[in-house]
Structures are given as structure tokens and as C-alpha cells.
């Protein structure tokens, strides 16, 4: 169920009213848990059963992850828990990819073909599995105790605002709010609602109008694209993926805030970054910090010398690419990002620093956009001719009809994305903080955005969030 579907917009106020009227911690938690389970059941009626079974397995293991259990048994329990969770991800997401590539590699030797499973990828599985791993690791590390009750842990796993596409929560950051849901005041409702409205606007008024054009460009034969059309398509995708995913995060954070919960931010104006290292501190922050805390550091981080650090970075970004999808273009995208992170450490970041803000931001954005071409291309076979088209090397460029709303939306999205990099931004923020009329105007504008976005949602066919695929 999408957050901007009429069904959700109709049912959520009723659930919210019920939640507000529920008295006592236990009643509130049960209300949230039942609502969250039904929310997921609606989209994934079978996988929800697998998820609940796996959640019970984690919960049972978590009591063997801390003292007084001997260290060896704790390690065994942690390994079992992590393997169990990765197994879910492997079966649903990577099994067919692995089998296809094994079949391809073994075909010259006449090996028997491995049958494909053809399982539909459950929505949000990559996010949920990573969150469940944080519970096990946090308990093992002693950062947090096992959840007080099973339904507390279920609520952490199934909490519906973040369930389908994050932000990826870490158990130790959420445990207190889960154990005792915070009280709700007007401020929570207002802040959450306006944040939700901003997310709706980002998704429906910017990402979706660009998405239709992006589909058209990337579905076309890349050999027939002019450089202008290819750049326009890539620029549109650069904004689409940001506004789509950041829009979802806004909605998730806004809904959670309406319910009294505070979730960590997931984006921080990523396109104003002046290096790839900075970009990854600003883009999908919950995934980057997850990788840092639960993969990069356990691999040794930067403690094993320069070469080891670069290898660790590469491993992390390769796996991050693979996390996004079982396809070679995502592996390539991960390797590409790993390469630039390594180059940053070697010389690139310092070199960009010396070039000034404008050039460093432009170069970083260029690197990011080429990465998005890898990300959006269906296969490496599409990527090379598309890159050729970008640099004007296509053979017979055809004219492409550009919908009237694309230029307008591109400019709007570009201004919103890049405004924080300009000198105007700081005075604007100061004025917003000091002038109550400006805050009132912003609120009114967001209410209008909400109405316009909902108007589009009930009129135009749904376009799922890009990150639902992961």
C-alpha cells in the first residue's frame, strides 16, 4: 500500500484517531502492531508469515547473545541469526541471479541447468533484513538488551512508516521509543503532517512527472538518442530518484512523527556535495551508517593500513550496489562508487577542495550522474550505447517529444536541490527561523502542496517508489 493511495489516506486517519484514543502504553503498542501487520499483510500476505517466523527466531536467539551465555555460544547464536536473515534475502532476491549466472558460466561444460525459483521480491525485504540484523548485533555487542516482549520486537520490525523503504532503523536507536511510545502533542501532529505533505509533493509533483519521461528515454534504443535527449533523460532521472526516495523518507518520518516517534534523517541535500565522500554522507544516510557500523567497522575499517582501508571501502560499496538489486549494473554502480571513494582518499577530494565550491559541486554532480546512468540502465548492454549517446556519439539521433511539464519540473527540482549550495540559502533559513509570517507562509504552501499532490494521486495511475524494488 502506498502512502498516497486513497485507501491509505482514508484508513490512516481512522487508525490515527484510534491510536490517539488508546489509553496506556500497551494499548498503543498493540494498536500500532495490529495496524502495521495489516498494512504489510495487504501487500505481502505470504511473506508476512515468513517475516513473523523469522522475527520469532531472532527474538529467541537474542536471549543467547549476551551474558551469562558463554562467548562461543553467543558467537554461534549471532552467526545463526545473521545467516538466517541473509538466507531470506538470498532466497527471495539473489537466488535466481546466482543460478542464472552459474548456468551461464557452466553451460560450456554441459552442466545440468539449475532451475530458477521465480519468486516475487517481497516489498521492503532488504530494509527489514538489515534492521533485524541490527537487533542481533546490538544485543551481541551489549549496546542494547533483548526486547522486553516479543511484540515489542515485532513492532520494531513491522513499524509501518518505515517498513517498505526505510529509513533503515537501528535497534539501539529505537528501543526506548518502541518500549514506551512517546506521547503526542499538537506539535508532533503539525510537524509530522507538514513533513508528510512535503514528501507527497516531492514524490507526486516532481518525481512522477519526470519519471514518465525517464521511462521513455531509457526505453528508447540508446543508439537513436541525441546527446540532448540523453542528458535530459539522465538529468530527469537524477532528480526523479532523489525526489522519489527522499519523498518516501519524508512521508515515513512525517507519519512516524505524527505518531510521536522520531526517526533519523535519511537525506541531507545530497546534490550540493563537493566530493563523493560527502555525497555518501548526505545520500541514504541510514544505509551508509548501517554499512559503516555493521560492515565497514567489523571488516577492520581504516585500522589495517591504507591498502586494507581501500579494500574495505570497495567491499562495502560492492555489497551496497548488490543490496540495491540482483543485477550486474548495480554491482558495477557499487564498484564505480567504491572507486571514487578510494580516489577521494588518494587525491580527488583535496584536488576538488582547491577548485572552489562551484567546480567541485559540478564535478561531483557529474560523477553522480554517470553513476545514475549505470543504476538506471537495465543491463551493461544498454549502458555503453547510452554513455555514447551522452557524449554525442549516437549514430542516428531521432527527435524525442518532451512533455510540457518536464522542463518546468526539471527547473523546479533543480532549484530545490541546488539552492542550499548558493549564498541565498543561509539568509533564507535565518529569515525562516526569525520571521513568524514566513513560517506561516511555508505551512500554507505545504498545505496547498498536499492538496495538489493528493489531486494528482487520485487522477494519475500509481507509480510505485523506485526503492520498493530493493
Amino acid at each position: 500500500m502506498l502512502f498516497y493511495e486513497p485507501l491509505f489516506l482514508t484508513v490512516f486517519p481512522a487508525v490515527y484517531a484510534f491510536y490517539l484514543l488508546a489509553s496506556g502504553t500497551s494499548a498503543r503498542k498493540w494498536t500500532l502492531l495490529v495496524a502495521s501487520t495489516l498494512f504489510y499483510l495487504w501487500g505481502e500476505p505470504i511473506f508476512v508469515l515468513v517475516l513473523l517466523a523469522s522475527t520469532a527466531f531472532d527474538y529467541a536467539l537474542s536471549f543467547h547473545l549476551s551474558d551469562p551465555t558463554p562467548l562461543q555460544n553467543r558467537r554461534l547464536a549471532l552467526t545463526a541469526g545473521i545467516v538466517g536473515n541473509i538466507a531470506i534475502l538470498t532466497v527471495y532476491k539473489y537466488a535466481d541471479f546466482l543460478a542464472e549466472n552459474l548456468n551461464l558460466a557452466l553451460a560450456p561444460f554441459g552442466a545440468h541447468r539449475i532451475a530458477l525459483l521465480h519468486l516475487a521480491l517481497p516489498i521492503g525485504v532488504s530494509f527489514v533484513v538489515f534492521e533485524k540484523i541490527t537487533y542481533l548485533v546490538d544485543t551481541y555487542r551489549g549496546t542494547s538488551r533483548p526486547a522486553a516482549t516479543f511484540h515489542d520486537y515485532c513492532l520494531f520490525v513491522l513499524f509501518f512508516p518505515k517498513l517498505l523503504a526505510g529509513p533503515i532503523l537501528k535497534y539501539h536507536e529505537m528501543k526506548d521509543q518502541i518500549a514506551k511510545p512517546p506521547a503526542i502533542e499538537w506539535r508532533d501532529f503539525a510537524t509530522g503532517f507538514l513533513r508528510f505533505a512535503r514528501g507527497l509533493g516531492r514524490k507526486l509533483l516532481i518525481a512522477d512527472p519526470l519519471g514518465a519521461f525517464v521511462n521513455q528515454v531509457f526505453a528508447a534504443d540508446p543508439a537513436s538518442l541525441s546527446a540532448g535527449a540523453a542528458w535530459l533523460g539522465l538529468g530527469s532521472f537524477t532528480l526523479q530518484i532523489y525526489f522519489d526516495f527522499a519523498g518516501y523518507s519524508d512521508m515515513a518520518i512525517g507519519l512516524a512523527r505524527m505518531l510521536g516517534f522520531s526517526l533519523k534523517e535519511n537525506f541531507d541535500t545530497p546534490y550540493v556535495a563537493r566530493s563523493m565522500t560527502e555525497f555518501w554522507r548526505r545520500w541514504h544516510i541510514s544505509l551508509t551508517t548501517w554499512i559503516r557500523d555493521y560492515l565497514y567497522k567489523p571488516l577492520g575499517g581504516n585500522r589495517g593500513g591504507e591498502t586494507r582501508t581501500y579494500v574495505n571501502l570497495w567491499i562495502c560499496f560492492l555489497l551496497s550496489g548488490l543490496w540495491h538489486g540482483a543485477s550486474w549494473n548495480f554491482v558495477l554502480w557499487g564498484a564505480y562508487n567504491g572507486l571514487f571513494l578510494t580516489l577521494d582518499r588518494l587525491f580527488l577530494r583535496d584536488a576538488l577542495d582547491r577548485c572552489g565550491a562551484l567546480i567541485s559541486t559540478a564535478v561531483t554532480l557529474f560523477i553522480v550522474m554517470i553513476g545514475w546512468a549505470m543504476f538506471r540502465s537495465d543491463s551493461p548492454a544498454h549502458l555503453l550505447p547510452f554513455l555514447s549517446a551522452l557524449f554525442g556519439m549516437s549514430q542516428a539521433p531521432l527527435a524525442m517529444e518532451i512533455p510540457a511539464e518536464v522542463p518546468f519540473t526539471l527547473v523546479l527540482g533543480g532549484v530545490i536541490s541546488l539552492l542550499p549550495a548558493t549564498a541565498l540559502y543561509s539568509p533564507l533559513i535565518r529569515a525562516y527561523e526569525q520571521q513568524s509570517w514566513l513560517r506561516a507562509l511555508t505551512m500554507a504552501a505545504l498545505v496547498i502542496v498536499y492538496v495538489l499532490a493528493i489531486a494528482r494521486a487520485v487522477t494519475v495511475p500509481f507509480q510505485p517508489f523506485i526503492y520498493f524494488r530493493f
Partner: protein, 208 residues
Amino acid sequence: MTRLTLSHPLARAAFCAFLLLLPLASAWNLMVAPHHPALAIRIGPKLGGVTYDMPVILSWSALRDGSFQKAASSRVTDAMPVRPLLIRINNEIVFELFGELTAPHVVKGANGQLIERSYLEEYCSRTEGMGTKFAADILPKLRDIQDYYRAHGAVFVYVVSPSKAAHLPEYFVDRVPCPSTPDARLIWSPNMSACSDKRASASSIPQA
């Protein structure tokens, strides 16, 4: 001021009542409107389109393949009281800002003139003699209707009028493939009217 906080029972109850307005109105439309359309709660202009109502069947297989969710979601969407208004807002904005039409069967002609695609396609596919043939098919049926009403002491009046495409062809004919010849397009209505006139004078039925 503290009495207005959300933790105050009265403030909370009032806010919850407000929150329940949309779900309750939608539930009302879902349950009552199919049997008593006049009692449906609708805000905004009446929608002209017709949507196909998929059957809502609750079964494990329907739940598993998503058809139950899709059908139920579609019903709830239709039942939203503010849906007509929201659709109008969206269509107006898209048309005014970008000149784009969200209605799939409407064609935009020169100077912002609009026409239903089927009328334009009919106009553009006319052939010579088609008007006479059409009149020969339809007029006996109209005559039967006239006879029926005359027998019941009433008068049935019909009007033969050119379509918008025939009236203002210069706005539209370049918007779709238009194989018909100008002569064929022009002769259609006079053919129809001529046949109609002959019948009318024979049966003494007044025409408007």
C-alpha cells in the same frame, strides 16, 4: 492554553471526530451510495467518466494474487467524497499550466478548442454517400419513435445538427489522420437533413 493540548480528553475527542470525517463519509458512500445514489456524499462537479467496478471477492487466492486488494482499493478510491473535486483541480492545473489533457479521449485543437476524439474520427472517416445510407438506417427508427409518441398524444422532436468537428473543422482536422475528402465531409449533413425533410413532410411531424 493547557486546555487545548492534545492530551486533554475533550481536545483529543474533537480532533478524533475531525479525523474520522473522511473515513466515515467514505464508508457511507461505500455502503449506501450503491443502493441510493442520491444519498452519496460528493464534493465537486459530477464525474463524466465511467469506471469498471472489479468484483470484490475475499478469498485466499484473491488475497494472494492481489486482486482483492486491487478491487477493494479501487472501490475506496471511488467512494472518496472529495475525489470529484480533486480530479477537477488536477485537470485544471495540468491544462492551464502545461496545456496537457488528462482525459485520454479528448483532443486539443487550435486555440485551445477541445473535442471528443470519437467525433473527430467519425468526421475524418466520412465517405461520399455515407450520409444518405446513415439516414436510411436511422430515420425509420426515429419515425417509429415519433409514431409511438404520437399514438400517446405527445410529440417527439429531434434535431439534426453538425458536430463540433463539422462546425469548426479548421481547428481540428490537422490533429488526427484525416483521410476523408472535404466534399465527403461537407455533404454528410445536407444528405441527412434532406432525407429527414422528405420523411418529415410525408408524416407531417414538425421539426426543430
